[in-house]
């Protein structure tokens, strides 16, 4: 709040006095805080800001002598304008102010968010040369880190990069150092990370190659944030010994450097990395034949000058191929992606953020056009006043200035309001943004945005005021005065108002089409049949003991452990079914695929591999997965019994067309298995994942060891049962663990959070646009009717019925709205192809969407014009004829 007030004061103070005024303000604030306390000092600051706002015109007006007359007369004009605006037609003024302020707030807030998250360059010098390498488990899926083995193979064999660095986020750790320190989010980084990012430390040093030597790796580089928060910004922190605490382990470390403000890596969703330790790879992490692999390393390289992204990509592919040739296939399939670091950080969010920005741009245009037409209508109604002024000697320039000053006054007041509103808007947006966006911490009201917004407001104010002024200067004002009414001139103005209306409706139409597509996509996604019932299910990972037990023993223990755990969970009140699965949880984003052999077709590899899950018999009931034919597994499908398999519908139709797969034998992991059932297709990774061929096998026939993921179906709210389930399992574990339960319906909400947020925001924008558009239509038609009063009276006197009059007004409205809607819908159709990737389950070409929007607008056109139309039809012809 303080920074905001000081910023406002600074902004409103002429630059020649800014230094001392702000200096005095800061000093005074200190003095007051000592004397009367922080809260009272803050109150003083707020009232000081209010006084400065009031005082500002005088302060600016008192600039050096040569500029004084101009400034004084402008400020006098604006003051007069404010007085006029507040005295006459208060409704119109308030409306114009509210519309401008609201649309500007929406614009400023949205731009601040989109700029920080998606548009702004990364905080590293030369960041356009930074390339990220990631791993994508499935097409279109999330990009994860790469394995350390891959990283080292690339680092040794590529030449495209002047440096290739890596970092592995390691989570929250504790730093202790006397009274200082605290919980800090760590990452381990290769020593060259900061060279690759081209980041110089603010204090001390970053890592040396020596720091990667085991035993000498106990050094820490802090980010600026962590330095301020945990060490009070003490410059003496360099060289300080701290204790690094991880669980029960305590290790002495030394702080060697502090990064500049705003710099960290990797930039990712969730908590930012606040401190770094050197990454010292174990021999296994470097071993290309190692089977244990973690996809956790964020790899970033800086392109050597003259090299391209494509070149680097080709080189990486080459290295992967040669590693595979030497060491055999360690990984199932290729999923390595090479892309600019900025794309990696912003990811898929960019396209929808840009869409939101475009939408808000549309909304701002609607608002501006609306305000312009309101002001134009005002100007027409004041024709006589202006003509009188002209008769008394005002030049056309002065008249134009009067009108422009009104536009300016509205612009100033509304931008001040928008400033305050966006201050809160940005805070609100930060809280409401979906998780999974990187750099949200950087979102703030940005000086450039404010300046741009104020300039936009001033320009739109001048245009809105200036357009009528320009029109006026072309009409013969004396004619106006003589004619004693606005009939002729009014109709001419009505034509330009009509043009404004068409433009406004067109923008609203574009916005509504986009909103409809986005909302329809969201509805399609949330109502989509995933193949399983996502409500009232929880998933938790259980593991009997540590993994250092010999593999054979683990396998032997598995069956007994599963039975034990399943029995315990089944006994928990509120649990209706419980199953086990050996792969990742529903909507968790992972998958396990295997190749298999189908007789008559051969071995299915690569993209044809089956998504495979080892499950317990009750898994299908717990997931709510429907059996289409045959049977599910039973307790008879035990180890040693003939191996059974269940496939999904997609696999059945694809590989067994026209025949019954049940009873067929397939080869899975070099052993025959008989297909005993067909279940429905499942979208295990959410509505937007593609359907895959799926294979289920009895878990006890293919045991890995005593661990797995429990799928628990509950009778009531899952949250209530989750804790009881965890407690019930605990006694069955010997040194092992049970994870926090995942409530699947919550996971679904997280998965669709982007779209939910998007749909909500677009609905808000769409609704605002509709309201503003309706106001515009109402205002224009009311104006047309008011200006046409005498003509209407004349027509009624000549025999027109009331319904004739009613319809003629409605027709006039519908006609304009129709043209606007047609233009807008056509434009939207042209633009729709730009965001096909954001649309789901509805075609961007869908006629229904465009027809709905057009019908909607027609209804709004009729509705908003109805009151003025009714008023026209109830005119008393005689009174109307006498009207001026």
């Amino acid at each position: 709040m303080r920074r905001f007030c000081v910023a406002v004061i600074s902004w409103l103070t002429p630059s020649r006095d800014r230094e001392w005024v702000i200096g005095d303000t800061v000093e005074e604030l200190e003095v007051l805080e000592h004397r009367i306390g922080r809260a009272a000092a803050n109150r003083w600051l707020r009232s000081e800001m209010r006084r400065v706002i009031v005082q500002a015109p005088r302060h600016w007006g008192s600039t050096s002598r040569s500029r004084r007359p101009f400034f004084r007369s402008v400020s006098a004009d604006v003051r007069d304008a404010l007085r006029r605006l507040t005295r006459t037609q208060r409704g119109t003024t308030t409306l114009a102010l509210a519309i401008l302020a609201l649309t500007m707030t929406a614009g400023i807030t949205t731009f601040s968010v989109v700029d920080a998250v998606a548009l702004r360059a990364l905080p590293y010098p030369g960041s356009d040369q930074l390339i990220a390498i990631g791993w994508r488990g499935q097409p279109g899926g999330r990009i994860d880190g790469v394995t350390s083995q891959d990283y080292f193979s690339w680092r040794e064999s590529t030449r495209s990069f002047s440096g290739l660095a890596g970092a592995i986020p390691e989570g929250q750790r504790r730093l202790e150092s006397g009274a200082l320190g605290g919980d800090v989010t760590f990452a381990r980084a290769t020593a060259n990370l900061f060279d690759v990012l081209n980041v110089q430390p603010a204090l001390g040093r970053t890592f040396h190659v020596d720091d990667e030597t085991p035993g000498r790796d106990n050094v820490i580089v802090l980010t600026h944030d962590a330095w301020i928060r945990s060490f009070g910004g003490d410059p003496g922190v360099i060289g300080r010994s701290v204790t690094f605490v991880r669980g029960a382990t305590r290790m002495p470390h030394v702080i060697v450097g502090v990064l500049p403000a705003g710099v960290t890596y990797p930039l990712r969703a969730g908590p930012q990395v606040e401190a770094f330790r050197p990454y010292v790879a174990t021999p296994a992490e470097r071993d290309q034949t190692s089977r244990g692999r973690a996809y956790a390393l964020h790899a970033v390289g800086r392109l050597r000058p003259g090299n391209t992204l494509e070149g680097a990509r080709a080189e990486i592919e080459q290295v992967i191929a040669s590693v595979r040739a030497t060491h055999g296939t360690v990984r199932a399939d290729a999923g390595t992606v090479v892309l600019p670091l900025h794309d990696r950080v912003v990811g898929p969010a960019k396209s929808w953020l840009v869409l939101v920005l475009a939408a808000v741009g549309c909304l701002v245009l609607v608002g501006c056009v609306n305000v312009a037409s309101l002001l134009l209508a005002r100007a027409v109604i004041r024709h006589k006043e202006l003509a009188t002024r002209a008769a008394l000697g005002a030049t056309r320039g002065q008249l134009a200035r009067i009108l422009a000053a009104e536009g300016l006054a509205i612009a100033f007041v509304s931008s001040a309001a928008a400033l305050v509103l966006s201050y809160w808007g940005v805070g609100l947006a930060k809280a409401a943004l979906p998780d999974g966006l990187a750099r949200t911490a950087d979102i703030a009201l940005d000086g450039r945005v404010l300046v741009a917004a104020v300039i936009a407001a001033v320009v739109s104010g001048l245009l809105a005021g200036g357009a009528p002024a320009w029109r006026l200067s072309r009409t013969d004002l004396f004619d106006q005065l003589r004619s004693g009414g606005g009939l002729i001139g009014g109709q001419r103005q009505a034509r330009s108002l009509g043009a404004f209306l068409v433009a406004e409706v067109a923008f609203v139409a574009v916005l509504l089409v986009v909103t409809t597509l986005v909302v329809a996509s969201f509805v399609a996604i949330t109502t989509m049949d995933l193949g399983f019932e996502r409500r009232n299910v929880i998933a938790l990972f259980v593991e009997k003991s540590g993994r250092d037990v010999p593999r054979d023993q683990q396998r032997a223990e598995a069956a007994g452990f599963f039975e034990d755990v399943l029995g315990r969970v089944r006994a928990v009140p509120g649990v209706t079914h419980v199953g086990l699965i050996d792969s990742s949880e529903p909507l968790g984003g992972g998958s396990t695929t295997y190749s298999l052999v189908i007789p008559g077709i051969g071995e299915l590899n690569g993209a044809d591999m089956f998504e495979t899950r080892g499950v317990s018999p009750e898994y299908f009931a717990a997931m709510g997965l429907r059996l289409l034919r045959g049977r599910t597994f039973t307790s008879d499908d035990r180890a040693g019994a003939p191996r059974a398999a269940i496939i999904n519908e997609l696999a059945a139709t694809r590989y067994f067309p026209g025949r019954d797969p049940i009873g067929e034998s397939i080869e899975f992991r070099e052993a025959p298995a008989q297909i005993v059932g067909i279940v429905q297709n499942v979208r295990m990774n959410g509505p937007e994942a593609d359907l895959r061929t799926e294979l289920y096998v009895p878990l006890v026939q293919w045991p890995h060891g005593p661990w797995g993921r429990l799928i628990v179906r509950t009778a009531g709210a899952p949250a209530a049962t989750a804790a009881a389930v965890r407690e019930a399992i605990r006694p069955a574990l010997t040194g092992g663990s049970v994870s926090e339960p995942t409530i699947i319906s919550d996971a679904f909400r997280r998965l669709t959070a982007d779209r939910r947020f998007n749909a909500g925001l677009m609905t808000l924008f769409g609704a605002l646009a509709v309201v503003i558009g309706a106001i515009g239509i109402y205002g224009t038609m009311a104006f047309v009717v008011a200006q046409g009063t005498r003509a209407i009276g004349l027509r009624m006197a000549l025999g027109a019925t009331r319904s004739d009059v009613l319809w003629s007004v409605l027709r006039a409205s519908l006609w304009r709205v129709g043209v606007g809607a047609a233009v807008g819908v056509l434009a939207a159709r042209g633009l729709a192809d730009l965001f096909t990737s954001l649309v789901f389950g509805v075609e961007t070409t869908s006629l229904a969407v465009y027809a709905t929007v057009a019908a909607c607008l027609a209804a709004i056109g009729l509705g908003a014009a109805f009151v003025p139309a009714l008023r026209a039809s109830r005119l008393d012809p005689l009174a109307a004829l006498r009207a001026e």
């Binding site: 001392w20 006084r51 302060h59």
Partner: protein, 108 residues
């Protein structure tokens, strides 16, 4: 004969007289607020001080940056002899006009 200063200008001139060496925006504002109870903004003080400077009644100079102001400099002001004369003139006028009315003014 110079113009009489405005009422607020008089307050500012008096504050300068009181503060002597230590006169700048914040202290002038504090002085006036403490003695008259009038709420005013720092920038209003500067507007008036600059006007007085243009009239040749006060002079200003820019001081050194200080840390408690975030490294910003101060602009100091001091009364010139013309300012002192004007102040005396308006005070004399005030005293002249109020002479003999003290008791009635108190009971108003």
């Amino acid at each position: 004969m110079p113009d009489f200063p405005g009422e607020f200008e008089q307050l500012v001139l008096l504050a300068l007289l009181r503060l002597g060496e230590d006169a700048y925006g914040a202290t002038v504002r504090r002085e006036i607020e403490a003695r008259t109870g009038r709420q005013l903004s720092i920038s209003a003080v500067y507007v008036t001080l600059e006007r007085l400077e243009q009239k040749g009644l006060v002079r200003s100079w820019i001081g050194e940056p200080t840390p408690q102001r975030g490294g910003r400099r101060r602009k100091h002001f001091a009364l010139l002899s013309a300012g002192a004369r004007t102040l005396k003139m308006s005070h004399d006028a005030y005293l002249g006009m109020t002479a003999g009315l003290e008791r009635r003014l108190r009971t108003l």
